[in-house]
């Protein structure tokens, strides 16, 4: 039986894109819950600025630059598949994965330093927030890396549904943007 399947793009958005936007909306609320709680506590608490001074701002800045660059490389990967250049797709997707791993590597170095200096999740409420928020964000980075690795090692999607790299990119940008909020809130405020 020939089955006629049809989709009506919603204001030009394919189902995959509409879906990822709804998912990201719920993610905004998840991080929003953390961020709003943090801000309310930060405004009412004393001593948090002092605690925040023990964070490694240098690593924070480096990691910010790494994530921003990775947002560029995943867009270049999208541009590559749009012009049919699979070699460039592999190159930029690989670069994005490497940058994501570098971010996590620096994060591990940072956590180790803080734990050695005696700042653990149970040291105080600031540290509880710091570890929970950055930890949750790191899990999201890890999830993004897994998606990107799947896109790198599988090839079938590249002809059948090339938009997948764009959907993965939207998620990756979101993870990037969350960090843009976390960095000043935790390290600089």
């Amino acid at each position: 039986m020939a089955i006629q399947v049809q989709e009506q793009p919603f204001y030009g958005l394919t189902p995959a894109k509409v879906g990822i936007w709804w998912f990201l909306a719920s993610e905004i609320m998840l991080f929003g819950g953390f961020i709003a709680s943090f801000v309310v506590f930060r405004l009412g608490a004393t001593g948090w600025a002092e605690a925040a001074r023990h964070l490694n701002v240098t690593i924070g800045i480096v990691n910010t630059l790494i994530l921003l660059t990775s947002s560029l490389t995943i867009v270049l990967a999208l541009a590559a598949i749009q012009r049919g250049d699979e070699a460039a797709l592999r190159r930029f997707l690989g670069l994005t994965i490497l940058l994501g791993c570098a971010f996590l590597g620096f994060k591990v170095i940072e956590y180790t330093g803080e734990l050695r200096a005696g700042y653990a999740p149970w040291t105080g409420t600031f540290w509880s927030f710091y570890y929970a928020m950055t930890g949750l964000h790191a899990l999201h980075v890890l999830g993004g890396i897994v998606v990107n690795v799947v896109l790198l090692v599988t090839t079938e999607w590249r002809r059948r549904s090339p938009h997948r790299i764009e959907v993965a990119g939207l998620y990756w940008h979101f993870v990037d943007i969350v960090w843009i909020f976390l960095f000043p809130l935790l390290y600089l405020a």
């Binding site: 039986m1 089955i3 509409v18 879906g19 819950g33 540290w127």
Partner: protein, 571 residues
Amino acid sequence: MSPLPQSGMSAPHAAGHGEAGFWRAYVFSTDHKTIAKQYLAWGLFWTVVGGLLTVPMRWQLAWPGSDVPGWGVVGASEYNVLVTMHGTIMVFFVAMPILLGAFGNFLIPLMVGARDMAFPRLNMLSIWVFGLASLVLLVSFFVPGGAASAGWTGYPPLSGKVEYTGSNWGLTLWLLAHALEFAAFLMGGVNFLTTALTLRAPGMTLMRMPLAVWHQLAATLIFLLSVGPLIAGAVMLLLDRLIGTRFYVPGSGGDPLLWQHLFWFFGHPEVYVLLLPPVGFVCEVLPVFSRKPIFGYRWILWATGGVVGLSFIVWAHHMFVSGMDPRLAMPFSISTILISVPVAWVLFAMIATLWRGSISFETPMLFALGFIAMFVFGGLTGIFNGSAPVDIYLRGTYFVVAHFHYTLFSSTVFGAFAGFYYWFPKMFGRMLSEPLGKLHFWLTVVFFNLTFFLMHNIGLAGMARRTADPRPFEMLQPHQWINEWATVASFLLLAAQIPFVVNVIRSLVAGAPAPVNPWQASTLEWSVASPPPHLNWGEALPVVERGPYEYSVPGESQDWLPQRRPLATGA
């Protein structure tokens, strides 16, 4: 024409279940109708568990300290487990899987003219993650220390430390089960919204979508945007319990009130997640059984939009006496009472739909009318609870228990039964017995009121909810008869479900085959076979010509015009 590749719909899926074996067709199915039935099965299973948990609870309240037959004496800790798990199960494992999981999955693709959900495999993952959540919750009953017992709201510090309740793994698994369930419903929710926005049949404009679909979307939207903060809060609670973080620990900078804010930021919108789908069912049932268009389709949509918006700014009415800044009481009282305006608006539209209609009282209609009557009553007591000065007296009493049972029981039982009796022929291809259905309705409505009405009174007399033993409270002694009365009535309410069970089994075994359109309804799902085939529409998608409620149109020979263009004249 050859099968077109569609993003999110894989080729093996489109190949159809016709050739699929048992496992692919009934267990690992991506068909939205099968997934709906799987959600329904889980929901009914948990209904039995959650319902039976009330037996020892009610027995203990009526005849405290006596032996519950087949159970033994209910101790205080045990009572806490019962009351916690009853609330948790009914809200998260009965109402959500049935109202959204079962009805949403079944109705949305059929009513908008899609072949399936936008992401069928994600949909299958959703039911499987929900099954995992159910298993985790089941296991939590049998771990040392017992299941969670910190109330369904799980307030810290009570829930923060094992020593306070004695439930260690029970409460941790309880949190895990919720996390899994939320993941399942997020996957489902993304599917619901995406399907209705992108997979509508030709001619199915947004303003021709049936209200049942709109209300599923509204409920999904509320869930999607409110659950994030609760997940954040639950992560904090889990970390507090497992590794000793300081989110909710007063004295080292934390604050237990933070949990209440995060919980109720989700928890109050959640009651609208449970209310809106049944509102949608009733909006389908009323026009069909009064042969009239729904009154004010667009006005209902605007009102529901108002409910969605306002539902996010009412949460602190649960916290009037919790120690939050008392200056917040007034704004939250106002927003709470304000939300009754759009809700009342929808109810008036429902009543206006009945006005001068040719009403017939089939079982779905009876339950729909039962929903309106009971919900209005529950809504009225909500005004008492929403006013801060009154709530300071009523908070945490049986008045509140009566209030939320009148609202939630009316939506998730009366509303769901209205939908169930209405769509059962489409879902299972068999007709239900009308006499048994009517008996079920009348017994349910009578014993529901007998169970819960007098709880208002004993609440006003000062009985606190979650009281495990009323004997030590002298002021309750003259009212103990109410507890006995409510207990007997609640047992009869449980027994009143027997006609329903008999009806369903009888119909599945030997019921009359359901015709395509037994109720002469105009929405799309009534234009395909009962039950609909895999991929729903045969070779050609339906073409939609008009709105969903064209009943008794002047000058037409039949009193209903189907939304779908007749195949004979179709393209």
